[in-house]
Subunit: 431 residues, 2 copies
């Protein structure tokens, strides 16, 4: 029988890394988790699938991009009701509603998992991507202080990844909405959606679209003015008020954003700013909104984003569960770091710290005993699998990126980075 | 518009835990990873999907239980060629073939991921389960010493989970095959399959099935004798030879198993044994085979298993890639520990070590500054979100399982487990 040979190949949109790069990914994810736990967030994990009615409960465009599961040899379609989650917010909402009585509120949770979207493969976009979410939800009411806590945690997480400078831009939905109401704009929702497209379609097209909604040239231009305001301190308040528009909702939004920014600036040295062009879509968020962008690689787009929402669990219960949260787009960030050869150099690409070279002609026992000793002190160690040929053993260590080779016969250590060689006390040595 | 209320519910076969239990799962997985890296295994992660031709390349029964992906609104079936992996060996084989030139051999890898099987929901079996695999593969030839290294690593990983006593049973396919050949049995493969069913169908049914394959009553009973041999040292060799059958394959199998067990017994104090009833199916493994069982909960079945295979990548290349590996069934173990209330008590259910109580009527600044100090020393800390009402703040900490409450106004700490309260030096205190 002739053997069928399958060509192994990547699947577009489903990235996979060599072991050395994966080792760095593992460490980077550990760093994010450590920051989340440092602030008292508890881990939640949900299955990769949800019922379609859960995934579709929020509506929107997501259903177009969803993957559903089908058993390969299913007799009928009765099971075709499960889909892979496309974000971590929808599963979290279901989780909170389902486990409501087992949770302690305010409930701080982190969730670090893959998400999937059935994007067209030719677009070269991720169809599997890893997200790291933090949210706080409470019952009935959630203090504004959490709106400053969430971006602080994400700020520290992004810093921990050593990605260089980024801007964490913050706004508040109430500001634009209150401003438009104060201007006398009637179709606030439609106008907001149009203003949100400024980056994509440009100023002229925005004005044209606003005119189609019945806004005069003057009102259209006035609507655009607020989005140009961006400050690193609370001076945005004066600049907005200088536009001469007043409404109680606008006032509330300005006060909230100023308070959030003040609290944040006391904790982080720059990097957070008020930017009134940030809106983050429309249907979901009701107050503070966030968006982080990478200074060096703006083409990556938003690397973290989120906001405050009035009611997380409205699809499941009449109890109001307000919350605020952000999501770090880990795959986006990590793939860029890897592609630009910018992964932190000091993070090891190989877990092994010491290779015990097997030179003893009597057998591997001595090398194995040395390895046991090192491991008992927590040192990641392997033993070379064949005796002799020192050059081959050194080459193996070098290719794998193992920094130290310890010779079983004389307890000499070779540091492959410096080339130095020296004797060590096997009972005590730590590489 | 009347709001549609969706009932949030679990999906059968897709387990999900409360945050406290999930927190323990995270720590248990960390422990496994630490052991894998202690022995120099490098991380590999593959996408959750593989092409169907990859998933089906190995044949067998797996195709019956597979989940394939479908885009919810796909225009045609052109993309219906991706399936969720049902184990980590098939993706690993594809990975090794695809990244062959980027790997250093012998290649020690660990892989910790979910797998999915489209089991019928009513069976109450896991359809999503987490596996932790370790394998070593090499080109052309792989030393027998690796057959002892793999179970050592898995032994230490299982010990790290604090699951109590277990038996790691080891055999070698060559022993049974050589024994049957020595007996003069012709249909070795069919007979092995029947013998493997002993636990399930019982001795009488096995003898009947053997008779149908043309084995005499005497030959059938003789075939069964070897499976009853189980010893903690290499005395199994004598017992097998005592059955009076000889063949060179049998001899080779006995020597290999004795060597593996000797090496292992030098590293671990009991818990590993030769058990010639272990066969682990038939098509895949060619030498050493492993199976770990839980002494306290034998009904869970195999909690870790694996073996040696002649050629991992035969579906992709003509280069021979022999290997040996094991898989730890984490979901199986963890779900049982959780169900039996046997999760290690000393592992925290909540990441937060300290709640800073906000009592200062002037504001939260003092509490936040204390939290910053503690976090800068790596202490997981949160600040209570509202001022006053000390009883409420203590209750929150208690419900969440936070062990220490630190009062912002006087730097007194209350240890919620002992009830003790004492003053601390905020510059130095570590909980």
């Amino acid at each position: 029988m002739k053997k069928k040979i399958v060509k192994p190949a990547s699947i577009s949109g489903f990235p996979e890394f060599t072991p050395g790069v994966q080792m760095v990914a593992v460490q980077q994810l550990d760093r994010i988790r450590k920051i989340f736990e440092l602030h008292g967030f508890v881990p939640v994990e949900t299955p990769v699938v949800e019922r379609l009615e859960v995934l579709l409960a929020k509506g929107g465009d997501a259903d177009k991009e969803m993957y559903v599961l089908q058993r390969l040899h299913a007799e009928d379609d009765s099971e075709a009701s499960l889909g892979l989650h496309y974000d971590l917010t929808v599963p979290f909402a279901r989780y909170v509603a389902q486990h409501f009585n087992e949770l302690v509120f305010p409930f701080r949770r982190y969730q670090m998992q893959y998400c999937w979207r059935g994007e067209r493969p030719q677009e070269g976009r991720f169809r599997q991507f890893f997200q790291c979410d933090v949210d706080v939800v409470a019952v009935d009411q959630l203090e504004l202080s959490f709106d400053a806590e969430i971006p602080l945690v994400v700020y520290e997480a992004l810093r921990a990844l050593e990605i260089g400078d980024f801007d964490l831009r913050i706004s508040n939905r109430k500001i634009l909405q209150g401003y438009l109401e104060g201007l006398g704009v009637e179709k606030v929702q439609e106008v907001t959606r149009i203003l949100d497209k400024l980056d994509k379609i440009g100023r002229d097209n925005v004005l044209r679209a606003l005119a189609e909604q019945g806004l005069s040239q003057e009102l259209g231009e006035k609507s655009l003015q607020i989005g140009a305001i961006s400050t690193r301190d609370s001076s945005f308040v004066e600049r907005v008020l200088g536009l001469g528009v007043r409404s109680s909702l606008l006032q509330q939004g300005l006060e909230e954003l100023a308070a959030v920014l003040d609290t944040l600036n006391r904790s982080v040295g720059g990097g957070c700013l008020a930017d009134l062009s940030v809106t983050r879509g429309f249907d979901y968020y009701t107050g503070t909104v966030y968006e982080a962008r990478w200074r060096e690689f703006p083409e990556v787009g938003s690397i973290a984003a989120g906001g405050r929402y009035d009611d997380l669990a409205s699809s499941y219960t009449n109890t109001r569960v307000p919350g605020v949260g952000m999501s770090v787009g880990f795959s986006r960030i990590f793939a860029k770091l890897a592609a630009e050869n910018r992964l932190p150099e000091h993070l090891p690409r190989c877990p092994t710290r010491v290779l015990v070279a097997w030179l003893d002609p009597a057998g591997p026992e001595r090398a194995r005993e040395i390895a046991r000793q090192l491991r008992s002190r927590g040192v990641n160690t392997e033993v070379y699998h064949r005796p002799g040929k020192i050059v081959k053993q050194l080459k193996y260590a070098d290719r794998k990126g193992i920094p130290f080779v310890l010779f079983d016969t004389d307890a000499q250590v070779k540091d492959l980075r410096s080339g130095e060689q020296y004797a060590v006390d096997l009972e005590r040595w730590m590489p």
